[in-house]
């Protein structure tokens, strides 16, 4: 059972930034093996997956090449033949489990639908099979899950349900389009293990799309690397990861941070830039006369200090409270308890004009490069607004904005342009320039590189380190990615369910983690197995 892709060319509609989504791509999927297709955003990897299912968008056409599977060429297959093939011989798992399931149908019904689509089994038998599948993918309490609606399950559970659906008809090929990208690292580890186990047991061919080399290291048998729609390298996992030939592959691999914290110069200055004492915040939803309240503790007795000139990492999964803590420190949301001191000023006790004045000492770089800049304001204005609000002369502010743009590696001419004219990485640089415009003492980076491609990520991280050293900043770095934290943090605080479970220097944390959760988190980072290492 194999799928052979020969010189596939998928043409994009005219007027785009390139002519082909996929340009002359050739590779093979073999039964019983996992092939990882790796690339950054825009590499065409997702298009390959969709082509394999005949689910290409209307505007994209297959101009040349063939996809050979079980005696037919999938490129020229007619619609009726596709109905028989989809789900039965080739199945797909998508990236976003929340939106990939019909919110109005029960999980059991959606799984049973797989059989119904191909006129198999009686309704009762379908129900039985659905139950069996739910058990097979490791979901607890199958009876309850069968009757549940998607919104009642967690992200990881939904993804397992999607996998159950995909496996229902025992397909020969499973196409997985970034199935773990939207999941927490511990959940991701479980799903990766599940996919590998199921693949071995059923001897399927798996095509796994991802941008994460750690995942590749974890599960790939063979690897294909795509850049701008072309295959730049392919081979076995060892060949590509350990003996990469193509410069692009090498650059990508080099950009992936290791889990080994580098030697960091010890800090001499022991004065504190930020003191956080007993911070607490509980979100309450619902309530009122007839509804029960739902209380979520985002922050529970959080205590830590940031020393002058250090980078403190705040690490955790979604729901750990790390973003809430960042927003509490910036006073974007009001704490229920605790204080935040910046130098000798208690930030939590002041209001109005006094608060606005103190705000310049601690600034933030946000996560989403596409949402952190006002699309209707010129870049120059975005950077100048802050200083002008604090009374700086507009002419002076303008000059400073130009200097800052050069500092972050952009041309000063960017001042007259709008955000949408820039790439994601460039927008993050603008965000950094904006944050620096007020000459802050402390910089809070809230998942500042999480939305960037790995090569761009490395550049922005270097920039942050460089600026920090030059301007003498202290930094609070929030992330879910332990590799990134290892690279740039002096000390790391691990958060779970709103509380800090461990706080140590980076070196110590990775070498000798104490708390059970920290150990679990470290173990879950993909790509650490001795058989294949990512750099």
């Amino acid at each position: 059972m194999s799928v052979v892709i020969n010189n596939l060319k998928l043409a994009l509609p005219p007027g785009g930034d390139r002519a082909y989504a996929v340009d002359g791509v050739s590779f093979e999927l073999t039964g019983g093996k996992i092939l990882c297709v790796v690339g950054e955003s825009g590499s065409g990897k997702s298009m390959c997956a969709h082509a394999l299912m005949g689910l290409l968008p209307e505007s994209v056409t297959a101009e040349a090449g063939e996809i050979l599977f079980e005696g037919s060429n999938l490129v020229s297959l007619d619609p009726t033949a596709w109905f028989a093939l989809r789900g039965r011989r080739i199945a797909m798992v998508f990236q976003e489990p929340m939106t990939a399931l019909n919110p109005l149908m029960r999980i059991g019904d959606q799984i049973a639908e797989m059989f119904e689509a191909h006129d198999l089994l009686t309704p009762k038998a379908r129900r039985q099979k659905a139950l069996a599948l739910i058990g097979e993918v490791g979901l607890p309490d199958p009876e309850r899950i069968v009757r549940a609606y998607p919104h009642q399950l967690s992200g990881g559970q939904r993804q397992r349900a999607m996998i159950a659906m995909a496996l229902a008809l025992e397909p020969a090929v499973l196409v997985a389009d970034e199935p773990t990208t939207a999941l927490d690292v511990t959940t991701q580890a479980q799903i990766l293990k599940l996919i590998r186990d199921l693949q071995r047991r059923r001897n399927m061919a798996v095509m796994f799309i991802t941008h994460d080399f750690g995942v590749v290291a974890e599960i790939a048998d063979r690897v294909v690397v795509l850049q701008h729609g072309k295959v730049v390298e392919q081979g076995t996992a060892d060949e590509v990861l350990l003996r990469a030939q193509h410069p692009y592959t090498r650059a990508l691999l080099a950009a992936v941070p290791t889990l080994q914290p580098p030697q960091r110069t010890p800090l001499l200055d022991r004065s504190k830039a930020v003191e956080v004492i007993g911070l607490g915040k509980t979100y309450v939803s619902g309530g009122g006369w007839f509804r029960t309240e739902r209380r979520v503790q985002a922050a529970k007795e959080v205590n830590f200090d940031i020393f002058r000139g250090e980078t403190l990492g705040l690490v955790g999964e979604s729901g750990s409270g790390k973003s809430s803590v960042a927003r509490l420190i910036m006073r974007l949301i009001e704490p229920d308890a605790g204080t935040v001191r910046i130098g000798d000023v208690d930030l939590t006790r002041i209001r109005g004009k006094a608060l606005r004045e103190q705000r310049r000492r601690i600034q933030m770089v946000f996560q989403d490069p596409f949402a952190s800049l006002n699309p209707r304001r010129k870049v120059g204005n975005i950077i100048m607004d802050g200083p002008i609000a604090h009374g700086v002369d507009p002419g002076v502010a303008r000059k400073r904005a130009g200097e800052l743009l050069s500092l972050v590696g952009l041309n000063a001419s960017a001042m007259e342009r709008f955000p949408h004219e820039f790439s994601g990485g460039q927008r993050q640089r603008i965000g950094i320039a904006r944050a620096l415009a007020l000459d802050p003492e402390i910089l809070v980076a809230d998942e500042a590189v999480s939305a960037l491609d790995v090569s761009v990520q490395a550049q922005v991280l270097d920039l942050l380190e460089d600026l920090k050293a030059r301007l003498g900043l202290s930094m609070l770095f929030i992330t879910h990615d332990l590799r990134v934290a290892a690279q740039i943090c002096d000390r790391i605080a691990v958060m779970q369910h709103g509380a800090i479970v461990e706080l140590k220097s980076a070196a110590l944390l990775f070498a000798a983690p104490e708390h059970a959760y920290t150990r679990e988190l470290l173990a879950a980072v993909p790509g650490q197995t001795p058989s294949s290492k990512a750099a």
Partner: protein, 323 residues
């Protein structure tokens, strides 16, 4: 779920009370003596009636007392007296209410059924001439004033072609019973119900079309295709159900417009409902009657909103009633 209904009813009652208070102040807002305003043009000449009004509503007493008396009256379902028609307002309204319910109910049903049908068709054949035809027709009907459609309908079907009656609820003087009566009423119902129905049909058709096109782009539809389901199954089971949710919400919001449409249509077709009653009150400057009908219309809208809300919640499992 019971607690939810109770909560909503409680809210509705509060709104009604606020309305009643609003009514109270509206009368006081009109220029001149409140007693004269309430008596209307007809009653203003009758001194005894005016004195009765003054006493009953305490019009020479301080404002809070007046308010109290007024609200008390409303709570005992006393909506005042219409001098012109020589009957309590409440009785007048109760007489005419069933006809309006029949009309609006029918209009709502046809508009929803056909609106969704045409909207789904337009979405299914999006980009073809069928889609353009439906969209253009919907645009035109949406833009046409209701009273004009009513008149054109009369002109076309009654005057020119003489197919359908254009006046009233039943053939006057014929005294039909049983099935013949039902058919007679039905014949009279066709034009008015369709007139109102056309406007709302256009609204629902446009909403359904847009919603279906929107839902078709969502991820779970891609999943359904990946399962190998046929397109008709996907549209029916996955797309339609999700696409209809905003239509239900829209239907709820249209309740007020539906009642307003009834006023115009009943006036043109001389349909004996509370809409026409409102028109009569206007002509006669009978403010008691006018405001009474207004309160009842609002109550109807509130009830309708509650029902739509319940329907929405029972269809969408993501919304919880209570733990």
């Amino acid at each position: 779920m019971i607690s939810f209904i109770a909560q909503r009813i409680a809210k509705a009652i509060v709104v009604l009370l606020a309305l009643v208070v609003l009514n109270f102040f509206l009368i006081r807002l009109a220029p001149g003596d409140p007693a004269l305003v309430m008596a209307g043009e007809a009653g203003a000449g009758d001194q005894i009636f005016l004195a009765q009004l003054r006493e009953k509503f305490g019009l020479d007493q301080p404002l809070p007392v007046q308010l109290f008396l007024y609200v008390k009256g409303i709570l005992s379902l006393d909506l005042g007296f219409s001098f012109r028609q020589q009957m309590p307002v409440a009785t007048l309204i109760l007489q005419r209410l069933p006809a309006t319910l029949l009309l609006t109910g029918t209009a709502f049903a046809i508009s929803l059924a056909f609106g969704i049908l045409f909207g789904a068709l337009a979405a299914r054949f999006a980009g073809t001439w069928a889609d353009t035809a439906i969209t253009v027709l919907a645009l035109i009907f949406y833009a046409t004033p209701l009273f004009w459609v009513a008149l054109m309908a009369i002109l076309l079907f009654s005057v020119t072609m003489d197919w359908l009656p254009s006046f009233g609820y039943e053939t006057v003087g014929a005294n039909y019973t049983g099935l013949t009566h039902v058919l007679d009423v039905a014949a009279h119902l066709v034009l008015p119900a369709t007139t109102i129905g056309l406007f709302f049909m256009a609204t629902y058709a446009r909403m359904t079309r847009a919603s279906m096109l929107e839902v078709n782009r969502l991820d779970f539809v891609k999943t359904a295709r990946a399962k190998g389901l046929s397109n008709s199954v996907i549209q029916r089971r996955h797309v339609l159900r999700n696409a209809l949710l905003p239509v239900v919400t829209l239907a709820g919001l249209q309740a007020g417009t539906l009642v307003g449409g009834a006023v115009l249509t009943e006036t043109v077709f001389a349909w004996p409902g509370i809409g026409r009653l409102m028109y009569e009150a206007l002509l006669q400057r009978d403010y008691n009657l006018l405001l009474g009908v207004f309160v009842v219309c609002s109550a109807m809208v509130l009830a309708f909103n509650l029902i739509t809300d319940l329907v929405y919640r029972s269809v969408d499992p993501r919304i919880e009633f209570a733990s």
